[in-house]
Symmetry: C2
Subunit: 327 residues, 2 copies
Amino acid sequence: MKPKIEDVAKLAGVSPTTVSRVLNNRGYISNETRDKVQKAMNELNYFPNDVARTLFNKRSNLIGLILPTTSNPFFGELTFHLENICASLGYKVLLCNSLNQIDKEEKYLEMLLRNQVDGIIVGTHNRGILDYHKQGLAVVAIDRYLSETIPVVSSDNYEGGKMATDLLIEDGCKCIALIDGVGELETPARLRRKAYVDLMEEYGRAPIIYEIPEVFDKKSQQDVISRLFHECPEVDGVFATNDIFAASFINEATSRGKNVPGDVKVVGYDGTETAQILLPQLTTIKQPIELIAKTAIDILLKEIEREFTDFPLETRLPVKLSKGTSA
Amino acid sequence: MKPKIEDVAKLAGVSPTTVSRVLNNRGYISNETRDKVQKAMNELNYFPNDVARTLFNKRSNLIGLILPTTSNPFFGELTFHLENICASLGYKVLLCNSLNQIDKEEKYLEMLLRNQVDGIIVGTHNRGILDYHKQGLAVVAIDRYLSETIPVVSSDNYEGGKMATDLLIEDGCKCIALIDGVGELETPARLRRKAYVDLMEEYGRAPIIYEIPEVFDKKSQQDVISRLFHECPEVDGVFATNDIFAASFINEATSRGKNVPGDVKVVGYDGTETAQILLPQLTTIKQPIELIAKTAIDILLKEIEREFTDFPLETRLPVKLSKGTSA
DNA sequence: CTGAAAGCGCTTACAG
DNA sequence: CTGAAAGCGCTTACAG
């Protein structure tokens, strides 16, 4: 069996209390005793049981991460950064891919609570979170408004939407469409659309909006884009609110014999590493993914430490235009 | 504070033992008592503390996942499937992005052990795993040989490498180069290279191999590919052992005014959803990612349950040629 | 059908 | 400077 503190104590000829003290570097211990204990730990190849520690300390150092899916490059990269920063701070990450399905999200939430996570980072619209947050659970949302008291971290979506639309207008596009997810929720990402609509109206044009119902379903994307071509054959500019949509559009356009950017210009959103390598010609609005991760964790840790001093309820991080050839 | 079993017991007017029994559905309980307890649990909004359970049961239902990075679409998708299958079976996933760095891998391994994971799925070359596996830790490797006794799950790399090379030869390429990661380790993925080398020799040609030292570093990729063009301007066929390398090559080729597939044909490896959407023109060898995940978990659970009956030490899952226009 | 007691592996007052 | 005792929240023999 795995050695426990008692085994170490016996071998070193001291009490478990003493072993615990050298483990945690707490209280006074003579160097001689410390050495004895260290030697015993090495000999037995002893590692403390963090489950027992958690039970006593009421501190798991565990962070729950709920997001749609790491298959999506934006969330894949966000997950990488979140986890890596957590690890560097001594936190561990329990991963939950909810695919935005409410029932899954609720199960995951319960699972995280049972496992005594210290805090949760949410990238999905999990309303259940709300109740637990009120009961003192530390929560940070990424690109989601969950409640008045849950801090939100996001890229500057409005500015990004504005940059994208502006670029298409300046490029001389006459008929600019938006490809977006469906809009049940009031998310910050919805500001990308708002910027588009505002700008179109400012220029006296009617917004043309296409919504993709199942964001993570290829078929669903193709259907909507086909419809777009069917209903708006004169489209010559597209702002897609993420790079996957942009790529789907470009594929469909190309297979219809349209040239990008000759016949139709395209701007995406996200600017993940993956998209930049696989589709470098895409002009897109680049989110500061690592900075988003860093900021979210920063705020979450303040909540966990109950430093309700002055962390911001909403943080908008700057975006950058990444110029390719598609617009 | 969070309610505990004792609070439920008091409210229901029974003993903690009884509450535990209804929680676990063990032993006989009268329906009347069960109802009383259920009601008390609802009223208090009680959830069992899994940390305490784990401590007693010596079973955490936690699976550790060590891989290079979820930023890479192959691992992002693999992670999604692994986690989702785990969740459906009542297991939870502790995520570790090691970036293939040995020191990180060792720290992660120790962390997982301290947290009493029931098993580990490894997609990196963590030699340390070896020792712990011998001490009874359940381990499954994906695309890695870690020891004689650690089961490996992978796609049929040799067959995939053969398909890719064959295709280029049949397409009439005269000068076919391989772009691969560096080859310190004897991994199954190395069979992709072996198939290429074997086939080239069979056709009486000299293998041309370019190795990318830092797989997850863009700069490193570009340097090697530039060198390839410099040293082999006559290259007219490339087998890249993953889609990211393939994309980098295509970008570099295009920016040098070469046409793909006109001047040079390219075949990749992996065939992730992401790459298929962002770079649909890429001809590639598609790994059955979900099946790999399912198989790995299957085997891991058998190890955990100590069903050392007959799980295979090596599983090679079939690949498929995904025909784009790049070759 | 139900409960009192002991224990999972640790830590922290409290004594000495 | 070190140790005995109690307790973190649960579960499981063992009685009754």
